[in-house]
């Protein structure tokens, strides 16, 4: 019995497609193709495109941020360099100004000193002149006084005479002292 069925089966060529299976195979495949081609693959393609754009957008953003950071850094560096330069310039200027000021003050001091010295000299000269003027007047007056006294007193006594002279000279000194 089973042997007969096996023989029966072997009369069928496995390379000759049974029609009903062909039809069902076609239907099964068309169903799969229809769903994938019309609905599901377009769905995923859209999302894949979106993802690619998102990634590319992200990269672009990052690049932009980097460029900005770079430019900011350069700006900052430039500003720093400028600031350094400015500071150096200011320091230089200050030094120069300081030197000028010191020189000016020194010159002023020198001038004032010279003025003071000159004023001192003038004063001294004036004093000296005034003193000599006063002295001359006093000497004349004293000479006259002395002459008068000499006339009034005896000139024989040498001691007396010398005493008078001494007194005169003392007076003279006193006068000079007083005049000063």
């Amino acid at each position: 019995m089973s042997q007969l069925l096996i023989l029966a089966a072997e009369t069928e060529n496995p390379l000759i497609p049974p029609i009903p299976e062909l039809v069902v195979g076609l239907i099964a495949f068309v169903i799969v193709f229809g769903f994938l081609a019309k609905k599901l693959l377009p769905n995923i393609n859209k999302v894949l495109d979106e993802r690619r754009e998102a990634i590319e957008g992200g990269i672009e953003k990052a690049e932009a941020a980097q460029t900005e950071a770079q430019s900011v850094l350069e700006q900052y560096k430039a500003q720093l360099a400028e600031a350094r330069h400015e500071a150096a310039r200011l320091r230089q200027e200050a030094q120069e100004q300081g030197a000028t000021l010191i020189a000016e003050m020194r010159a002023e001091g020198q001038r004032q000193r010279e003025e003071i010295v000159a004023a001192g000299h003038t004063q001294i000269e004036a004093d000296r002149k005034a003193a000599s003027q006063a002295l001359r007047q006093d000497v004349g007056k004293l000479a006259t006084d002395l002459a008068g006294k000499l006339v009034g007193e005896s000139l024989e006594d040498h001691a007396r005479q010398s005493r008078v002279i001494d007194r005169f000279l003392d007076e003279l000194e006193e006068k000079a002292e007083a005049a000063r």
């Binding site: 019995m1 089973s2 069925l5 096996i6 089966a9 072997e10 069928e12 496995p14 390379l15 000759i16 497609p17 049974p18 029609i19 009903p20 299976e21 062909l22 069902v24 195979g25 076609l26 239907i27 099964a28 495949f29 169903i31 799969v32 193709f33 769903f35 994938l36 081609a37 599901l40 693959l41 769905n43 995923i44 859209k46 999302v47 894949l48 979106e50 993802r51 998102a54």
Partner: protein, 273 residues
């Protein structure tokens, strides 16, 4: 009924070695199924392979529906798996052979073909089903037929009648005197043999794979008697090894099928030399 070898599994019988029972070897009868519905003599019937084919379609659509119905820019796990499969076929097969610009149009067809063929092959090792649908020639034939029609019509559309003829025959003046012979062979090989080999390559691989699995499975049961138990163990190890091997072959054959499809389409679109 119980004697019908096409409907009875080997281990449902008490047939063992040393029992005076012959080895119930697998054969063509292992690829015949009594209709579940209808009459086998007419063309109106519904059998196991049809059920598996339709069920396979539902599974593929179910999988991609779950993965791609509402796809997200940041994918979930399922979407990621489906995407990598899709991307593998799109980039690894279509773009590689046809090119991105011209190939984009054929991506849905090739992706559908790959997953359909793969699913039909995988039925081979799914418990209970355990039959590669593609081991029935009708299924590979209908797929190869679709590709064949597409390929021929594309060739005519792209090159016109004379151009298509040259394309089919591999017309090349430099062949000189051999040219008529070469054209004849090429024509024969391209237009007549190609669709046949395209279908049979897939069919025969799955047919042979299923036969091997059957052979070792039946042998494991048949040898389970006396000293034969040792051999049954070896046979069972072979079942496991062959199952793993089949898993690989199933994917490989699906890949080869779509790769050839793409090569044909590329040939149709290519300029004549």
């Amino acid at each position: 009924m119980s004697a019908d070898p096409t409907q009875v599994l080997a281990f449902e019988t008490d047939c063992h070695i040393f029992d005076g029972c012959g080895f119930p070897a697998p054969g063509l009868h292992s690829f015949l199924f009594k209709p579940l519905v209808g009459d086998g003599d007419s063309n109106l019937y519904f059998n196991k392979t049809m059920l598996l084919a339709l069920l396979g379609s539902v599974i593929i659509i179910g999988f991609f529906w779950a993965a791609f119905r509402k796809p997200k820019v940041v994918p979930g796990k399922l979407q990621m798996v489906a995407e990598s499969g899709y991307d593998f076929i799109r980039r690894g097969v279509v773009y590689e052979t046809i090119g991105k610009k011209e190939g984009e149009k054929y991506v849905p067809l090739v992706v559908s073909l790959f997953f359909f063929v793969w699913m039909m092959n995988v039925w081979s090792i799914v418990p209970v089903a355990q039959f590669p649908v593609t081991a029935i020639i009708s299924y590979p034939a209908v797929l190869a037929g679709i590709v064949y029609i597409l390929w021929v019509s594309l060739t005519f559309k792209r090159h016109g009648f004379v151009g298509a003829f040259k394309n089919f025959t591999g017309y090349d003046k430099s062949l000189g005197a051999v040219l008529p012979l070469a054209m004849f062979i090429e024509f024969f090989s391209n237009l007549l043999v190609r669709p046949f080999t395209h279908a049979v390559r897939l069919f025969a691989n799955m047919f042979a794979g299923h036969t091997l699995l059957l052979l070792f499975t039946i042998a494991s049961w048949y040898l389970l008697n006396g000293i034969g138990i040792a051999y049954a163990g070896v046979s069972f190890i072979m079942v496991i090894v062959m199952t793993a091997f089949e898993l690989f072959i199933q994917a490989l054959q699906a890949y080869v099928f779509v790769l050839l499809t793409c090569t044909f389409i590329q040939g149709a679109l290519a300029e004549n030399h």
